[in-house]
């Protein structure tokens, strides 16, 4: 990976058209660098999908480096540090915002967390494992690896050093040996995946590099390592956002007509005491602030608020299954959020159903 912490000093594009032309140029430069040196460029395209509840009319903060370039198209540049961690935000879609950057992912994410994800009505798109698999399947891309990553957010150990954690990232080539294949298969069946790497071969016969290689993360973002067709990658970015928004709207439409619960099945047993500790205090990534109000024979019933939208939610939780019900007009982004996070908490498989059919899959 080549070291490149800042963007080139040329003035950033000030329109959508200019921005997408820049994306095309930068992806081309990255591809040439990869082909010439075999090294993956550090300045890769990062995309974040943000879910937006239109009832709250969220907007980026007017100050703090954000400015409007054209209707629903914003640009961020870190004040006092021109050229670093530039971010473009396309907020034209009323349900999904698209965030683009060539900056460092952690830095960009910290800015998004501070300026956008902290605002009421803005949340991540939570791309649980089944959704990631469906992205790969629909695009017809080949399996190029995966990652599992576990931090014991429900650990009983207060000392961060004692918190159980492990992570693994598997980069797959074209062929995997028989011995490795059995290990890979077992690990894929055992752990929940927090990201999938996928791609396709280059259409140019002379090139030995991938024509497209991306990694899509369950926490709603993607890194484009290389791509020889900018329109293809921009189309994929749009397809993922559209598909997620479509599933969410469908869930909300059905919920509005009938109060059937979203059903979860956990592959590993959930520590309900620790889950209760988080949601009753209103801290942690679940964005839920709830009160347990009944318990019988292992089924714990919670009611409280989704801190994303202030909607009232009911959650019935056992150690191997759960039911989530929102009010009729509630934003249901809590459903894929809980799905993704429970898989992360447990590092085991979690499935989500509505009326017996899998959701976001």
């Amino acid at each position: 990976v080549t070291e490149q912490q800042t963007d080139p000093p040329s003035p950033p594009p000030s329109s959508r058209k200019g921005f997408f032309e820049m994306v095309d140029t930068r992806l081309g430069q990255n591809r040439e660098l990869l082909e010439a040196t075999g090294k993956v460029p550090a300045s890769q395209l990062k995309v974040f999908w943000l879910e937006v509840d239109p009832r709250h009319h969220p907007t980026p903060p007017a100050a703090d480096g954000w400015r409007l370039l054209e209707p629903h198209f914003f640009f961020y540049s870190q004040p006092g540090v021109p050229g670093s961690n530039q971010i473009w935000l396309d907020a034209a879609n009323e349900r999904i915002w698209y965030v683009y950057s060539f900056g460092k992912r952690d830095d960009v994410e910290a800015i998004l967390r501070r300026d956008l994800l902290s605002r009421r009505g803005v949340d991540r798109a939570w791309l649980a494992e089944r959704f990631l698999e469906s992205v790969q399947r629909k695009a017809g891309y080949t399996d190029r690896g995966f990652r599992f990553s576990f931090k014991g957010a429900l650990s009983r150990d207060k000392d961060p050093e004692g918190m159980p954690r492990f992570s693994g990232k598997f980069w797959l080539g074209n062929q995997v040996s028989v011995e490795q294949e059995s290990f890979l298969r077992l690990s894929q069946e055992t752990f929940s995946k927090s990201s999938l790497r996928m791609g396709r071969r280059s259409e140019g016969k002379s090139s030995s590099n991938s024509g497209l290689l991306i990694e899509v993360y369950s926490r709603g973002h993607m890194t484009v390592t290389t791509c020889d067709d900018t329109e293809e990658i921009l189309g994929l970015i749009n397809d993922i956002g559209t598909s997620y928004a479509g599933d969410l709207r469908e869930l909300e439409r059905r919920r509005e007509s009938f109060p059937r619960p979203v059903e979860y099945r956990f592959g590993m047993k959930l520590d309900i005491e620790q889950f209760r500790a988080q949601v009753e205090a209103g801290v942690g990534p679940t964005k839920l602030w709830m009160q347990e109000y009944a318990e019988e024979d292992g089924l714990h019933r919670f009611v409280g608020v989704d801190l994303h939208t202030n909607d009232l939610l009911n959650l019935d939780l056992a150690d191997s299954y759960a039911y989530l019900v929102g009010t009729p007009k509630a934003c249901m982004n809590a459903a894929p959020r809980l799905m993704t996070l429970s898989a992360e908490f447990l590092s085991g498989k979690t499935d989500m159903y509505y009326e017996g059919a899998q959701l976001f899959a």
Partner: protein, 242 residues
């Protein structure tokens, strides 16, 4: 029925009649429910369903989706149709019905909950914890809310089906609890004139923690803080910089 009793539901076969009460509250007026099995079909029902001798299938069947069937009178029947499915069948006369109910393992999928957390007759002790959940919503919004609105949230999607008079007892219980909560919990103010609670906005993790701690003390339950997460976000990918 012909003895002027009014069960929620009636089930009949050629030979049997069963009376059903939909309930989640042990505050039910059970004496009235004892009259149900003694009654026979009223004349209009006989006209529709056929006038023939039918035996009582058993004591009143309480059908509930709430936990707590153990709190119903021991001589009455109770079936919990929500997981974990359970039944108590001390008084069933219809042998076939008894066999089917004993075999029943629950619905294959989850049933609708209708966001129901209380019934109009629910008393103070039955709604305290649910109220603590709803108050989190009020607190997060920094809103002013009256007791009737909170009673509606407790009734979930059944709220529009209950008349104002029918809700009166529940609204009174909610008001009593809100007044008590406001006297113990920082950030809540009770306005007696409008039967409303005014909440100071809980817009930070610290404020929510403080409220939760005081609420737990008020509910007299153990408040757990022994979890490892202090951040709003835990990012499993944070160690990687791509």
């Amino acid at each position: 029925l012909d003895n002027d009793s009014r069960p929620d539901m009636l089930a009949v076969t050629d030979n049997w009649r069963a009376v059903i009460e939909i309930s989640c509250s042990p505050n039910k007026e059970f004496e009235r429910a004892r009259e149900y099995p003694k009654g026979n079909l009223s004349a209009p029902l006989k006209a529709v369903l056929g006038d023939r001798p039918r035996k009582s299938a058993g004591e009143t069947f309480f059908v509930t989706e709430e936990s707590g069937i153990k709190s119903f009178p021991k001589d009455m029947n109770a079936v919990n149709v929500y997981p974990p499915f359970a039944s108590r069948l001390p008084s069933v006369n219809d042998g076939e019905l008894l066999r089917r109910l004993r075999e029943w393992k629950g619905f294959p999928g989850p049933v609708a909950s209708y966001n129901l957390m209380a019934l109009p007759e629910s008393g103070i002790d039955e709604i305290r914890f649910q109220l603590a959940g709803i108050l989190r919503q009020v607190m997060f919004d920094g809103a002013t809310t009256d007791a009737a609105s909170i009673a509606d949230r407790l009734l979930g999607e059944l709220a529009p089906a209950v008349s104002a008079a029918g809700k009166r007892e529940l609204v009174r219980s909610v008001a009593t609890l809100l007044e008590r909560a406001a006297s113990s919990i920082t950030g809540l103010t009770w306005i007696a004139a409008t039967h409303s609670i005014v909440a100071r906005k809980a817009d930070s993790a610290q404020t929510r923690m403080a409220f939760s701690r005081e609420m737990a003390a008020w509910l007299n339950v153990r408040f757990l803080e022994s979890f490892s997460v202090t951040d709003e976000e835990v990012d499993p990918d944070a160690e990687e910089n791509e």
